[in-house]
């Protein structure tokens, strides 16, 4: 499978989608001008990955900030991974938040209430 590596900017996150090395990670800031267009390649990649996923998939979110438009896109991504889990694969979300950022912790908790994927919370 193709590897997607998108370098983060001050308004778009760093994205790594690498099936061979089993790294799936979104980090940094997310307030892209066009959310749908920005996340479309990631969504496509996950749909492709779903056809032949690794036995255990760790999905890492280490976001400093995301706007509400991005929050909807992140849910769409999580729902794709939920499908993979529902096919009988192991999926765990690793949710990182800055120690003093309660809103980011809460955002992770909310996602974990919406999707059926186990979340592990990590402060840094």
């Amino acid at each position: 499978m193709d590897v997607i590596k998108i370098k983060g900017t001050d308004d778009t996150p760093n994205v790594i989608l690498d099936a061979e090395n089993n790294i799936i990670e979104f980090s940094g800031r997310s307030l892209p001008e066009d959310v749908v267009t920005f996340y479309a390649p990631a969504i496509q990649w996950i749909e492709e990955y779903a056809k032949n996923p690794n036995p255990k998939t760790n999905v890492i979110f280490r976001l400093e900030y995301f706007n509400t438009a991005s929050s909807k896109a992140l849910l769409d991504i999580l729902l794709k991974f939920e499908d993979i889990l529902n096919e009988g694969n192991e999926v765990v979300v690793q949710w990182y938040y800055q120690e003093d950022d309660e809103d980011m912790l809460e955002a992770g908790e909310e996602y974990s209430e919406i999707v059926d994927i186990p979340f592990e919370m990590h402060s840094y």
Partner: protein, 193 residues
Amino acid sequence: MGNIDYLKLIYSLHEDMMAKKFTLVYDGEITHQITKAFTSLAESKMDSYSEDSSIKRKVFHVMVECLQNLSKHAEEYEFRESKGKYGNGIFIVGKIGKEEKEYQVITGNAVDRERVPELKALLEKINQLDKEGLKELFKKQMREGSLSEKGGAGLGLIDIARKTGEKLEYHFSEMDKNNYFFILRTKISRSID
């Protein structure tokens, strides 16, 4: 009016801004570049007096959502001569009161008359809900709403109320037979709880 009188107007405009503690006033097209410039300006300003990081995050968050509300609703609210890809509006950031215990972010933009009842209903609903109610509404909207073509997810106003823990202050002024001017004021407390 003589030239000097006209120039003096600028001074009184400046004095007005100072008296009202407006640190940023902008009226025009809200592009993505404008959003980035204003938020980074506010960030570095707050850094210069070591504002608390959680308050800095709240101000940043509210500014982004307010600016995106202005920029995303261009299509519906287009009425100015300079029709563009982005929305137009007035955007103000400032502090409140002598002791400057709060920040405020104010937006104003034209809204099609037909959209007013829907928008009013949403604002009233948000203001009636407590913390838990807002959380549930946000989750519901995130699950059920879809990203519109312009990337609005209908979550901005709910999120502003959640992040600030304050009621949304708003007013609709009639502009003409088709449009109202929608003013939204958000306050962000500077005290750390």
